[in-house]
Amino acid sequence: MSLLSNTGALLGKELRTEFRSRELLTTTIVFILIVIVLFSFTFDPTSDESRRFAPGLLWLAFLFASSLMLQPCFLREQHNDTLSALRLSVSDPFAIFLAKLAANTLFLLLTELLLLPLFAVMYNVPVVPVLHWLVLVFFLASFGISIAGTSLSAISAQARMRELLLPLLMLPLLTPILVASTEVTKSLFDRAPFVQWKGIGFLAVFDVVFLTALWLFGEYLLEE
């Protein structure tokens, strides 16, 4: 019970600070926007090319943007040593991770859904008929990215060269998510769309495995 109430209080703090400054959301949205627009102008893909390449481009953009978004996740807690205050206050340190990964998932999902219409127009891919499936893929992939990214952010925040370390650790680890979500999205953008259950199952398993690992070992990531 205290895990849930602690998580709720911390999630409220994460949302309040972000919606007050909008630093993370603005940076991430602008980054993805630039990638999508530049790629479209540079290659001017046909409809068939878009169906083949756009899902990969979309998920690469999301992945790189998420490394930007997740960087300050624990770095911000170092500024006034607020992480120590949190560790002294919560009864279960997992609440700190749960709140952060819930907030990061929400921010990523929001960014993805805001940019989806622009992506559909620029790459001429029909998203409306498969929107509910896309939302499912976005959620599963964003959750996986947030779990791994939040954990690695806790590690990299305590290291030297912390700004470089997170992408170096995170991008290779998230390659399976990139591949699976690209494949599922590609199947949804097909001329005869279909749901690739294998990919969706993989994303769900990835999320469960990494969340369990975080629950078991997360406490050690917060220690000095």
Binding site: S2, S5, N6, A9, L10, G12, K13, R16, T17, R20, S21, H79, N80, D81, T82, S84, A85, L86, R87, L88, S89, V90, S91, E223, E224
Partner: protein, 234 residues
């Protein structure tokens, strides 16, 4: 497990070493602090005061030895004891207001009637009229007042203060001394690091000087007490 309601709590450090890479910050520190003692930790910069306080707060794990709380409570209750800690850093969020910070931490610590408690503390630290201002707009002294209020939110049995007067004006120091006196008289165990003699150090019932990570002096008597604070015996 919920922590015990206010009870007399002591601290026991047994043969503590703390190593940061190649640096040995604490060497074989063994100390027993009785419940209700008000201990002043003195020592030069880098002598290990902050490290000892962070180990007492269970924010840092000793490389060797153990730190435990002693008193009339079970092992499970001891594990749930949360000392109030005022550190060098303010440990509050600049992007939140003073009131939002205190409400957040009171909710995390399951403080009963958090609104009333926060209201009372804001009044006590003299920030009632700035409750809705973001902490980043505060001076260093005002931030320190928020930090002290945060540490007192859950009425801790053990209070750990790392140079608590940092940034406070003379009025603030007097207020802090009065607050520490009240806490000491109510039976709280207090361990605080200070530099030199002050209104606050005079509240101590025991003085310990650390030197290069080891206990160099430890006394409860008047003349030696003063010499520890002023390094006259060093």
């Amino acid at each position: 497990m919920t922590p015990p309601a206010f009870s007399l709590v002591g601290l026991r450090f047994e043969n503590i070493d703390k190593r940061y890479g190649g640096l040995l910050a604490l060497r074989a520190v063994s100390l027993t602090i009785q419940p209700g003692e008000c201990v002043v930790l003195a020592g030069r910069n880098g002598s290990g005061k902050t490290t000892l306080l962070r180990i007492a707060a269970r924010l840092a794990r000793p490389s060797r030895g153990t730190m435990s709380f002693s008193g009339q409570f079970s092992g499970e209750e001891a594990a749930a004891i949360r000392p109030g800690f005022v550190a060098h850093a303010t440990m509050v969020y600049d992007e939140l207001t003073a009131e939002e910070n205190l409400l957040l931490f009171s909710r995390l610590q399951n403080v009963p009637q958090p609104g009333n408690r926060v209201e009372a503390l804001l009044h006590e630290v003299g920030l009632s009229d700035r409750r809705s201002s973001l902490v980043r707009t505060f001076s260093r002294g005002m931030r320190q007042r928020v930090a002290i209020a945060r540490a007192l939110l859950h009425e801790p049995s053990v209070l750990l203060l790392d140079e608590p007067a940092t940034g406070l004006d003379p009025q603030g120091v007097s207020w802090l001394a009065e607050a520490i006196r009240r806490l000491r008289d109510s039976g709280r165990t207090i361990l605080m690091s200070l530099h030199g003699e002050s209104e606050i150090s005079s509240l101590g019932t025991r003085a310990i000087r650390l030197d290069a990570g080891s206990v160099a002096a430890d006394t409860r008597t008047g003349a030696t007490f003063r010499s520890i604070l002023t390094f006259a015996d060093a």
